[in-house]
Amino acid sequence: MRFKKSLIAMTAFGAVLAMTSGAAMAAGDPDKDAPLAPLGDPPIPADNPQTPAKIELGKKLFFDPRLGGDASTGCIQCHEMEQGWAFSDALSRGYPATVHWRNSQSVINSAYLGKLFWAGSASSLEKQAKSAATGAVAGNGESDVMEARLAFIPEYRKAFTEVFGSEWPKIGDAWRAIAAFERTLIHKDTPVDKYLAGDKKALSKSQVNGMKLFNGKANCIECHNGAQATDEKYYNLGVPPAERWLEDGLAQITFRYELYAKGVTQEMYRKMKDDPGLYFRTKQKRDMGKFRTPPLRYTKYTAPYMHNGAFWDFEEVVQFYNAGGGDNDFTDGTMAKTKTKILKPLGLSDEEVTDLVAFLEAFSGPELKMKKPKLPPYAPLPDVAAAN
């Protein structure tokens, strides 16, 4: 019985393999890649239009730690302006007394992404904000208490009424305002954008050479393509598991918690030692260890890189690809064998590595900073007699 089952599984797996490698062999390239292009304006959802008052409110809420369980952890705590609107450690800081389990991604240009989080578990910035504010190792807030807090901040009360027309702030509107603010955090004045728009002086000779490698020999364009420099698809590159899981009890707790909270079989809960990524969404073994291709703009400010922050600078990243990617529990058959066939040793020379790194740096322009807003205080509500 068992033997038969595994035979079927192997057949199915073989068929997928054949399809993928067949296409790759035919063209050297599994799909048609949109060329890099200057970044346009981000899409604005019809049900959450941008207004100056909404953006201003969203900015304050983004910086306000009261939108979290113990009023210490708002969006900004894991998306620090001074740290690339991300967090400069391999794993994000997480809620007090916890550590997160993935690298914090930059908020900059998140407006362009169709799905948020490393495995694409949120389909909008509005939903991302809610998930981040409520997860036990992130904001650990509950909607009722966060909504109640907003009602006791007179400046917010007024702003929510103006922007959303409600008598009292609604927590769902807080996420909408935050998303509207995030849609203003746009980074497109980069050397790459200027070059692609026709300013041939925007890139150095080394960077131009790096771009040729990006589009050719190094084959980065296979996934980092189009205006966003991402295909928004999911791949297992063989990024090694987070070292911190070996060394830190707090990280081991969070790792098991995620397996438990996101829902895997009992046997997988017992055996899993690495982040199965997209598997959590699809529950398909073929998706184990896959993460979404990240966009490349602003990355100069957002080290470390990869879903678990495995690499600390661009050179490490390029050397990783030059070696044909790496190995993890989802490449070597421990849990699955899902490594993308796109990756092969690239044979880049030291000079080529330098050129590619130089080109990657050209995806970042001036650092995006702003004055932190002054957060409005709580005040008691008028008593009922006075209110009526």
Partner: protein, 355 residues
């Protein structure tokens, strides 16, 4: 039918005897004790159960209104946990009428109490070798959130009143007179019956509103979050604690302002009094009832009437109430005296062992 003789023996005849201790599984209770004092059972590891339920204060906190999880603040008085396992319903509004497992869950997970995701709590316990051994020794297998919610109630079973003058038969003459008033002229025994001196029911005695709740925006946010979650209508415009209405939701509002009759055991350690801590001393409480309770335009219990107690009678009644307090449960038998580690141990052979 009761004579004027004294003491616990007679009291037992009236249904007032000592609180009978339940059977205890010592290993489970010991585990529950450690969990009760462990701040890692709250979301940000800032507070434990014992932060509000302090053994030095009869497992309450000495405050009119309790503290709460960081970022929130309490809107009710912390009740004692002594004899809690004997209750028929829990919290001042009696909203949980099931068991201490549910009470433990609610206290651990509510955003204003300990704000703990129990799945994370389980994984924290699994990371602590002391717990791994204690859960195993207690017969629970590996640490789990389910067994945490069994072990804490088992520890709570050990918090039983002992050694009060009332139980030992050593009440003063004044207290003995007070007991007679309690059962007779003062009418206290209409609600305060049985070994714990409570009918485990809810009543509206017109205890005055505590204005501190509405003056402090953080306390008020906590109340709003609670009221919202409990499905109370018009929660933004309420400036009173609706009490048992959160449990029974009566359309005519006749349950508004009703609160559980508290036990009268261990009052010596648990001031201030009432669900919102509005009364500082037992003398204040006696005065309150002597005047026929407080004002409530609609739902006040009709049995409350001015009692006409003399100053001596009032003093006797207060002295009886004080005679219901026994030994402080503050020794190692009831308190986890060990330290908790500042960091979690790392599982060294992480790659090899099963999670």
């Amino acid at each position: 039918m009761a004579g004027t003789a004294t003491t616990g023996a007679l009291a037992a005849g009236d249904g007032f005897g000592p609180v009978q201790p339940p059977k205890i599984n010592a290993k489970k209770a010991e585990l529950g004790k450690r969990l009760f004092f462990d701040p890692r059972l709250s979301g940000d590891a800032a507070i434990s159960c014992a932060s509000c339920h302090n053994p030095e204060k009869g497992f309450s906190d000495g405050l009119a209104l309790s503290k709460a999880y960081p970022g929130s603040n309490g809107f009710r008085n912390t009740p004692t946990l002594i004899n809690t396992s004997k209750r028929a319903a829990w919290f001042h509004d009696g909203r949980l009428g099931t068991n201490l497992n549910d009470v433990t869950r609610e206290s651990l997970t509510e955003d204003y109490s300990m704000n703990m995701d129990m799945r994370l709590m389980q994984e924290r316990a699994k990371q602590d070798p002391v717990y791994v051994k204690m859960f195993k020794d207690a017969g629970y297998g590996e640490p789990s959130n389910g067994s945490i919610r069994k072990a804490i109630p088992e520890y709570l079973n050990t918090l039983i009143s002992t050694g009060s003058p009332f139980d030992k038969g050593t009440m003063s003459k004044s207290a003995q007179n007070g007991f007679e008033l309690f059962k007779g002229k003062a009418g206290c025994a209409q609600c305060h019956t049985g070994p714990r001196f409570t009918d485990d029911n809810v009543h509206n005695t017109g205890v005055p509103n505590n204005p501190e709740i509405w003056k402090d925006p953080v306390r008020h946010t906590t109340f709003v979050a609670f009221a919202m979650f409990m499905g109370i209508e018009n929660y933004m415009n309420i400036r009173r604690d609706v009490g048992a209405h959160v449990r029974t939701h009566k359309a005519d509002g006749s349950d508004i302002g009703k609160f559980m009759t508290p036990s009268l055991r261990e009052l010596k350690y648990t001031a201030p009094y009432m669900h919102n801590g509005m009364m500082k001393t037992l003398e204040d409480v006696v005065d309150f009832y002597n005047l026929g309770g407080g004002d409530d335009p609609t739902n006040r219990d009709v049995r409350l009437k001015a009692l006409g107690l003399s100053d001596i009678e009032k003093a006797e009644l207060a002295s009886f109430l004080k005679a219901l307090s026994g030994d402080k449960l503050n020794t190692e038998a009831h308190v986890w005296k060990g330290k908790f580690p500042a960091q979690y141990d790392v599982i060294e052979n992480w790659r090899k062992v099963r999670n």
